[in-house]
């Protein structure tokens, strides 16, 4: 066996894919050829290093993001199925009535029920004395802190609600979180969420809040302006 042929066989040899005859032939060449022996040792070392090379960690929130994408897909798929069934025999007038009824329900949900539930998040655990929240008009100064207030009106008490608040690039919570997850019960009436945030990049940013209950998802955006600091 010459070196060229032996070198081609190294990979199969270390993976155990040579037949017995090839193996004997290869091993007898290796014993007499220092170059090929060196090649073999290097290939074995390479294989070992590749096996133990550290793997990248899954990105933060990989599972949370995936979970909601899957729920969305499930919802879409089931809607598709429902539509296929209902579209077949549902008259237009029924659809209009349903939309009207839904609108009434939403309005009732918004204008009824008044007890307030305050949920404290990142950097805040009580309502401060000089309590004022970030307003649309005033915004948040760059590197300054403020209290972000988010309101949800619920028609009834809802258990096991999952709430995810995603901070944009320009805003962070005071404890430097980009995403805040909360799981709990929404009270009937107004639910207030308070969290302390800081402006890190000037510009108009969207704080995205999504509420999840089983496969139902509600997404809300709140615009916040981070004002550049004047020199």
């Amino acid at each position: 066996m010459n070196c060229r042929k032996a070198k081609k066989m190294i990979s199969d040899y270390i993976d155990g894919f040579l037949n017995p005859e090839e193996r004997v032939e290869f091993e007898s060449h290796i014993r007499t050829c220092r170059n090929c022996m060196k090649e073999l040792e290097e290939m074995e070392r390479l294989k070992e290093i590749l096996k133990i090379a550290p793997r990248p960690l899954l990105p933060e929130n990989f599972h949370t993001k995936l979970h909601y994408k899957l729920l969305e897909v499930k919802e879409k798929e089931s809607k598709k199925r429902e539509n296929r069934i209902f579209d077949f025999f549902r008259p237009v007038s029924v659809r209009i009535t349903a939309i009207a009824a839904l609108t009434v329900i939403i309005c009732v949900a918004i204008f009824t029920g008044r007890p307030k539930e305050v949920i404290y998040m990142s950097g805040i655990n009580h309502v401060p004395e000089n309590y004022s929240t970030i307003s649309m008009r005033q915004g948040l100064p760059l590197n300054g802190e403020g209290i972000l207030k988010l309101n949800f009106v619920s028609k009834k008490k809802v258990k096991d609600v999952e709430l995810i608040i995603e901070m944009p690039d320009g805003i962070k919570t005071v404890d430097n979180k980009k995403t805040i997850c909360w799981r709990g019960t929404l009270r009937k009436g107004e639910n207030i969420i308070l969290l302390k945030v800081k402006g890190v990049k000037p510009g108009m940013w969207d704080v995205v809040t999504s509420l999840h209950k089983n496969s139902v998802k509600k997404r809300l955006k709140r615009k916040i302006f981070v004002k550049p600091v004047r020199i």
Binding site: K7, K8, I10, S11, D12, D15, F17, E41, E42, M43, R45, L46, K47, I49, L50, K51, A53, P54, R55, P56, L57, L58, P59, F62, H63, K65, L66, H67, K69, L70, L71, V73, K74, E77, S78, S215
Partner: protein
């Protein structure tokens, strides 16, 4: 156990599907990262592939192993998506490697250098060679599984792997003469 999860997931049970897919997620992401060479796109593409699995699980006939079926989907999604991103992110680096085990600072520095060379070398390989190295040598698929995932004969996997390893060795030798010492 896996059968039950497959059955539930086929009927649209998200939690069952997540449980089923959990042990493959890390591998899917690793492969994506080596092919896209960009962590953000790797995450998007991994999730796209997993969602595609969720949607098409009802077509899984259980004739091949779940793992092979999963990685065949992964491969198809990656091929479609990564080709687009290759052009945009030729020079992006894989930066989010973290070492979990605690070693001395010197040892860590040495290991980091070693693995950083390995990463750079793998990224320099042409796609078809990179695929076999990542699947066989890093993720532990055997030749047959790799052949099924890549939809090529086993002989092709063997020859590509041989070639890929030799190419890798050459690249690594260029990084450091002492690499294999």
């Amino acid at each position: 156990m896996e059968r039950d999860l497959i059955k539930k997931a086929k009927s649209g049970d998200v939690e069952a599907f997540e449980q089923l897919i959990r042990k493959y997620e890390q591998k899917i992401y690793n492969i994506a990262l080596y092919f896209c060479r960009n962590p953000v796109e790797a995450e998007d593409i991994s999730q796209m592939a997993i969602i595609k699995m969720f949607k098409s699980l009802k077509n899984f006939k259980e004739q091949s192993s779940l793992s092979t079926w999963i990685f065949r989907i992964v491969r198809n999604v990656f091929l479609d998506e990564c080709k687009k991103s290759f052009r945009r992110h030729e020079v992006e680096q894989i930066e989010n490697f973290e070492f979990i085990d605690k070693k001395s600072a010197e040892e860590i520095a040495g290991r980091n250098q070693l693995f950083s060379w390995i990463n750079s070398a793998i990224k320099k390989l042409p796609e078809k060679f990179r695929m076999v190295v990542v699947l066989c040598d890093m993720e532990g698929f055997d030749y047959k599984e790799t052949a099924e995932i890549l939809n090529v004969p086993v002989g092709t996997v063997r020859s590509r792997l041989n070639r890929a390893r030799r190419m890798l060795k050459e690249i690594l030798r260029n990084f450091s003469d002492n690499f294999f010492v």
